[in-house]
């Protein structure tokens, strides 16, 4: 646990971890699987519980701090940033969707056990159904893209009622009978996020485990989850882009050779090389500021609590969507164009610089930028906000 519980100390701790994670990031990208050593360091740092409210024994960090930590970790390793951000997304969902008893139960156990949370809630697959059985549910089916379940201490799950198609959430530990984590994630990027399949064979969930927070049902506040999730993604994009640009810069300064006709002894003296770095820095800086504005928008909406209006929620949604789209676009551009200024010998597996593009490209697919851009344009043209829902 950190002893000096301030945003600055948490960010400093994240920066320290970033340097450690950078050492194995290339190797971990190649092997995939579980980032166990990194997870141990993350637990030791105390950063897993900073988002738990002080009342439950946590650090009480605001969302903007948590997401800045996400961004910092993602500078070295997109998978770790992703796991950390989605861990915080669980906190967010629990705090909005669960009853006070459920919150107390799960959060005190989270702090006591220094838990990492995963999720098995993918909203598109429509492949996990529950039927009523006495005072609970019996779940059967599967969920793909269950991020973090390969290393999680506890898991948020979601299913559809087979009778009504209504969606329900609960939390379980991975030892729940009938629940099997397949460890089958094999994406070309974000390789240690464990975003594989979880199968459910007559998994029993008691009604008391089903999240229910009567105070916020039907309020705009209850729909902030997607904005938090989109914020996790966008901070991972930004973090990866910053990390890519910094690694590229070091490579260019120390290893790149000048173009044969450039007339310069060092590659970094070439005005065109400088020019490209300048352009990438400038674009990234604009995307960072937009990302920062989204953090403020999310914090502001959260601070309103259940009094949050639909308009306020909508304004925050537009800001988050804009930041998300821009972060993804700029991150793809940066992670692709760095090669232009590193030279031919940079493009090896041993260097592993391609992981940045692969990670961002993989991660942006969880997040259809096209429709988000359209939503922003719809608002520009009509003033109408996107209907709250998955991804928006």
């Amino acid at each position: 646990m950190t002893t000096t519980a301030t945003p600055e100390s948490w960010l400093a701790e994240a920066a320290r971890l970033r340097a450690l994670f950078a050492r194995d990031a290339v190797a971990n990208d190649q092997t995939g699987g579980q980032p166990l050593a990194q997870l141990r360091l993350l637990k030791d740092s105390g950063l897993l519980t900073i988002g738990v409210p002080v009342a439950y024994g946590g650090g009480g960090a605001g969302w903007s701090t948590i997401l800045r930590v996400t961004r910092e970790l993602a500078k070295a390793d997109g998978s770790i940033g992703h796991l950390y951000g989605y861990h915080a997304n669980f906190l967010h969902n629990l705090l909005t969707q669960a009853s006070e008893d459920q919150r107390r139960d799960w959060l005190t156990r989270t702090v006591a056990g220094n838990w990492l949370w995963g999720n098995s809630v993918n909203s598109f697959s429509h492949s996990l159904f529950g039927r009523r059985d006495g005072d609970g549910w019996i779940l059967n089916g599967r969920r793909p893209f269950s991020s973090g379940t390969h290393v999680a201490d506890a898991i948020t799950i979601a299913w559809e009622d087979e009778a009504t198609d209504a969606r329900h959430f609960a939390a379980v530990t991975p030892d729940r009978a009938g629940l099997t984590i397949l460890h089958d994630w094999d994406g070309f990027g974000q390789r240690q996020t464990g975003s594989g399949t979880v199968t459910y064979d007559n998994v029993r969930i008691h009604d008391s485990e089903v999240f229910a927070n009567p105070d916020v049902v039907g309020t705009p506040f209850a729909t902030l989850g997607p904005l938090h999730q989109q914020s996790v993604l966008l901070n991972v994009f930004i973090g990866q882009a910053i990390g890519a640009l910094e690694e590229a810069k070091d490579y260019t300064r120390t290893k790149s050779r000048p173009w044969v006709y450039s007339g310069h002894d060092r590659h970094s003296d070439d005005p065109w090389v400088k020019r490209v770095y300048g352009e990438l820095h400038i674009r990234l800086r604009g995307a960072e500021l937009l990302a920062d504005s989204a953090l403020e928008a999310l914090n502001g909406a959260w601070a309103k609590g259940p009094a949050l209006t639909a308009t306020e929620r909508g304004e925050a949604a537009i800001t988050v969507a804009a930041a998300n789209v821009h972060a993804g676009e700029v991150a793809l551009d940066v992670t692709q164009r760095i090669f232009e200024v590193m030279g031919a010998r940079s493009a090896t597996r041993a260097n592993g610089f391609d992981r940045f593009w692969r990670n961002v490209r993989t991660h942006t697919l969880h997040n259809p930028a096209e429709y988000k851009t359209r939503n922003v344009g719809h608002w520009v043209l009509t003033g109408e906000f996107p209907e709250p829902g998955t991804f928006q």
Binding site: G187, E340, R349, L365
Partner: protein
Amino acid sequence: MTTIDLAWGAGPSARYDTLAARFRPIFARIRDGAITRDLERRLPFDELSWLKESGFTTLRLPVESGGFGASLPELFALLIELSEADTNVTNALRSHFGFTEDVLNSRFAEQRARWLPRIAERETVGSGFSESGDAKLAAFSTALVRQGDHWLLNGRKYYTSGSLFADWINLGAVDGDGNPVSALVPTRAAGVAIVDDWDGFGQSLSASGTATFADVLLPDAYVNPSPERFRYATAFFQLVHLATLAGLGRAAATDVARLVGERKRVYSHGNADRIADDPQILQIVGRVRGAAYAAGAIALKAAEAVQRAYEARLAGDDDAETAAVAIADLEVNQAVTVITTLILEATTTLFDALGASAAKRGTGLDRHWRNARTIASHNPRVYRDRIVGDYAVNGTPPPGQYRVGQP
């Protein structure tokens, strides 16, 4: 299906489809295994052997020498089609086709007489010019020294594209006096060792590994009479990369169209009931396809300029040849930025038409970007633009032509 039927545009000659028909079934077989080979990192030995058997490696030889008499535009159009199947295979043959140009252009009758038949017999040639990666103009440390009536070769070469598949390595060295010399080395000669240590994140199956030569004995007949290469070599080798990118773009466009057609999941906030009817998604697919179409058109236009350089050589007017070579270089340089940018963008944006499952390694979709990015890194855009600008503003001819090891 011809390229016309597929809306990729006509080939470069009236007889092109007849010529291509012979190879297209092989291209299709090569394409079938491309994703698996990439995932399993399996070198395309079989695929190269199919191409050799088909005579593909003899394309440029005159019919009377046992080839197909293909023009350079025909060759490049076929390389686009081959690259649509697997860009690694194209890369593995790049040096072979380059050496073929060396022979076809050679002023030395005995050189032509010696190598044309070997190429006709389906022997192939890998590359042995790079010693240190980017610094292509560095003096060679590989030594080829006269010893009695033989030559003795010692040294090490990197990025020997295609050498693992080839019968020969065409290699640059210095002789005992420190002068440049080049020679053909049998890949199976005693003292030659080639390891597949090329570690690119793209083009990983082009067998661009390291070759070492320890006291390799070579007869006179394997040493080239001049270290000069064919004069449009710079343009030619660059254009192979551009053709590769163009073919890669076609494959990416075809993949994304197919995968969009197969998508079943519907977004609640999409613009149509079926994703395949969503105008926003179709626009992305169309843009990717337009990029691939454009890349092919530009590459084939530049190929005409390279053909003119070749024909100028045959015609024997040195001034005309010099001019044609410079123009070929300029046209190819003018093509680099547009093609590279289009294909890098297309291989990135195609994912915007697809869902999260497109990130699974099994779909093999990221290999298009990895391959394109690797090729582009070997052919950097910005410097090509500078060369073109220097010509346009100051009339400066493209630099560094005809030097050994230049490409």
